[in-house]
Symmetry: C2
Amino acid sequence: VADLGEHALLARVLARLPRPGARVLVGPGDDAAVVEPGRNLRLVMTTDALVEHVHFSRAWSAPADIGHKALAVSLSDLAAMGAAPQWALLSMALPQSCLVAEVEGIVDGLATLARAHGVSVVGGNLTTSPSGVAIDVTAVGEVAPRRWLTRAGGRPGDELWVSGTVGLGAVGLAVLREGSGSHPSTPLETAPEVAECVARYRRPDPRVRLGLAMGRGRAARAAMDSSDGLADAVMQLAGASGCGALVEAAALPIDPAARGWWTARGEDAVTKALVGGDDYELLFAVPPRWGGRLRAVRARVTSPALTKIGVLTKGDRIELDRDRHREPMPRGYEHFGRSR
Amino acid sequence: VADLGEHALLARVLARLPRPGARVLVGPGDDAAVVEPGRNLRLVMTTDALVEHVHFSRAWSAPADIGHKALAVSLSDLAAMGAAPQWALLSMALPQSCLVAEVEGIVDGLATLARAHGVSVVGGNLTTSPSGVAIDVTAVGEVAPRRWLTRAGGRPGDELWVSGTVGLGAVGLAVLREGSGSHPSTPLETAPEVAECVARYRRPDPRVRLGLAMGRGRAARAAMDSSDGLADAVMQLAGASGCGALVEAAALPIDPAARGWWTARGEDAVTKALVGGDDYELLFAVPPRWGGRLRAVRARVTSPALTKIGVLTKGDRIELDRDRHREPMPRGYEHFGRSR
């Protein structure tokens, strides 16, 4: 599968699945699926895996961080659909050598985040693993009829808005890779801004309230989370909507700590912020005339902030505007293959 | 975790989860969870993992067998709750060296079984794996209010009934371990009865129609599937129901091919059939006065057959009656620890 790449492999998998039944309103390929179990009832379902040595390292994150993140990534998918999370299932594959205290730590981290969002963990599965820890979380949420947000709803002219800041997660991962923060959950012996990046990488904050408010308030026509990077989110949302996109480099809400860290290393902060993942912010497509609805949501959910970063365009070009010079959007991360 | 064992680890995990919300009707610990998204609507959810080198070997099963089994184990859990399967999510962790044709084979096997049961695969997740293939399937089904079957509903005096036969899966696994059937999906160069055992191990047939009919027809008070062996199912169902159990060795519907295979090797077929897993039959607790309802279900669902194998008793002893001599039930398989 290494030669094919993630998107091509996904397309091959999707082509072989049975045609979804009549009560499947959003099938595979979006942040989550939407099904219709009954009149006026819409359920949103998503599943995500965290695999040791691929998505996390036990040297970089404490067990509770890992448990937190395992649920956070699924809650972020539900948020990107505008759904209210309700139930979760937890499947863990554990090496025989795994300490019981580690397992308890993972469960505690997940349980704390579940409590914070009123999510009931209703079941799961435990099994042995021949190598590392793997955690699979399925989350199920609710959304009102016609209030969910897909990636595909955008139209040319829609404004692109992103929540929070860009770059914290990517710098957090880079800091841990450099080895300066290798002891799990220890405050780093560095500037507090850098510690903030690491904290965000370890414990992303899924934008559940914001996603729900945007869906309920009909303030966006499309949405997606930025788990694989903002560049990837812009490309996926624009592609699913049959649009191109133009992003203003100067408008990107790059976190000051992240910008400082990259600048100090002679790196281009704009490119790094766009391709870096692990932020779990939300990207929305908002028609200009829906500005009133957007303001109403922003008045109700004041944190995180929302920043306009560009527009959807006609055609299929995904471009970045830097000082009035247009260039192709830098490519993000792909699982499988050699792109990282 | 190896020292603690599966059941003790599970208990520790369950103790740390948030208290389930009001709309959780059956929480963690049963074959599946039951939640109430709306009036007159009950959803049943379960997740299961198949991990290479733990649950399957690519030398023993073709990719399509693995995909079939990955969904079958979850459908069997739904069947044991009396639920009609509707939607599934598929999460796969794949080594970079995995062939695209293998992935397609896995998906084809899963898709064929999904089509046969009218299940829509609504989403999923693809990621890289540092070692073997791991497949996590979440299945969601529907059940009418008060028509689901848990493990906990049994009462002393209830008869224990099992579907189909016992032992096919365990002999299938043993045959493959002996190496006589190592080429994936090739008909074995042995007696057809042995080939049948291997086929059942590779492609278990979840008892979806039977489970649904038993729940709808109110023909059982408790149910569980025998994925970890019939002895385990009897112990779990009796334990959850606060009962003991007495099983008649002579009544066990041990598959003739399985019995022959064990007898030829000087093994005790009764013990082997009880502790062996991979059958995916259903065990039911049926009050004697519900015999009419049971007959009605058996008239409607004629295959697989149902066999009475014992009764639930007062107390907590789980016993086997062999030629009027009572002995403790042999212990089944536990993930984690040294019991296999």
